[in-house]
């Protein structure tokens, strides 16, 4: 494995390649850096429901099969809800891409090591759950290339990257109804207030 990457660099590479894709950012530093890389109206920022970024992304993907949907979560969050990989492998939505930001620790609660630090391998877990198109991204260019390939292909994909413990460089407003409303407007399923 090459040197660990920085989450904000990966989020900037991601945002630079996006158009109208929906992106669901998991709790804590994951969605902080997604926001810091440049807010998009198609971003949904999760606040408390640890482990549910991928299930939420699956729901959006089912509701909008014509749109590409990306879920992003950290290693600690995904470990809380590994079963969702099996559900996604079973449902196999063509338009869903999963990104794992793996710093092998619970960074936001003080950096306690996660099971990833002692060997839990998210690409192996995802493949074992039926998500065949699962890969480690060893550097920023590989990450950007794998994201592009996943967005251009049919079938669910998972891309994991080993990241370092750099602090997130920004945070979205913690205003859930606004986050939800603006996201739904961007999805085209809700109107601007007063415009009906």
């Amino acid at each position: 494995m090459s040197a660990r990457l920085r989450r904000i660099d990966l989020m900037r590479r991601l945002v630079a390649t996006l158009g109208d894709e929906a992106v669901i950012g998991g709790i804590g530093n994951t969605n902080f850096d997604l926001f810091a890389a440049g807010h998009r109206k198609q971003n949904f920022y999760m606040l408390g429901s640890m482990g549910l970024a991928f299930p939420i992304a699956l729901g959006v993907a089912l509701a909008q099969p014509q749109r590409r949907v990306i879920g992003i979560d950290g290693d600690g969050s995904l470990l809380m809800n590994l079963g969702c990989l099996a559900t996604i492998g079973m449902v196999a939505p063509a338009n869903l891409t999963l990104l794992v930001m793996d710093n092998s620790s619970y960074q936001i609660t003080g950096g306690q090591p996660s099971a990833s630090a002692s060997g839990a391998d998210f690409v192996a877990l995802a493949r074992g759950a039926g998500i065949a198109r699962s890969s480690w991204a060893d550097d920023e260019d590989a990450f950007a290339r794998l994201v592009r390939e996943a967005l251009d292909a049919d079938g669910p994909a998972l891309i994991a990257a080993k990241i370092d413990g750099s602090a997130a460089v920004g945070q979205p407003d913690r205003d859930p109804p606004q986050i939800r409303d603006r996201f739904m407007q961007a999805m085209g399923v809700r109107q601007e207030f007063g415009s009906r």
Binding site: F44, L52, L58, G59, C84, A86, R180
Partner: protein
């Protein structure tokens, strides 16, 4: 709205879901829910599948709503115990209407002590979170309560929980 009392409760549930354009059915399996699960899988109107845990299914239903698709989440009372954090921090906090359909275990002849206390958390959790909560006991009430609960949830952008009593479903009895 279907209401004929001669219809099976499960047929009324499925017809009411369809009438309200509820196309996504997620669930963690339960024996009492079999007619709903099998009925949803058999009808191409529905997209139906199981989730590994109830809060995972809640996340899927919440995402579906964000994308403009209506859903229902089915579980048994013990499974509701997996839901409170997702209900509080996602559905309630973000004002996302997720409708929970919960088959009641733990009462009226329960044979498994492991089901008894977990079933008692549903009502207090719903009260604590301000989630509308009704127990359906009579077949004649199924269509009205479900239809109105779905419509209120969408209109007010709040989750809701419905409990299917053994008085309605017959419950699950010990097979000696």
């Amino acid at each position: 709205m279907p209401s004929a009392s001669t219809e099976r409760w499960s047929d009324v549930v499925l017809a009411t879901l369809k009438a309200n354009d509820v196309r996504l059915v997620t669930y963690v399996p339960d024996k009492i829910l079999i007619p709903l699960i099998e009925g949803a899988h058999a009808d191409p109107f529905f997209t139906a599948f199981s989730a590994t845990r109830e809060e995972e299914a809640l996340g899927i239903c919440a995402g579906a709503w964000l994308g403009g698709m209506r859903s229902v989440l089915m579980m048994q009372t013990s499974g509701f115990g997996n839901v409170p954090n997702a209900l509080a921090s996602l559905a309630v906090a973000y004002q996302i209407p997720v409708v929970l359909l919960i088959s009641e275990r733990g009462s009226l002849g329960e044979f498994n002590v492991g089901q008894v206390w977990s079933s008692r958390v549903v009502e207090p959790v719903c009260y604590a979170l301000g989630v509308p909560h009704h127990v359906i006991e009579r077949a004649a009430d199924v269509g009205f309560i479900l239809d109105r609960t779905i419509k209120q949830a969408w209109a007010t952008q709040q989750p809701a929980a419905l409990v299917l009593s053994p008085l309605l479903t017959g419950g699950k009895v010990f097979a000696a």
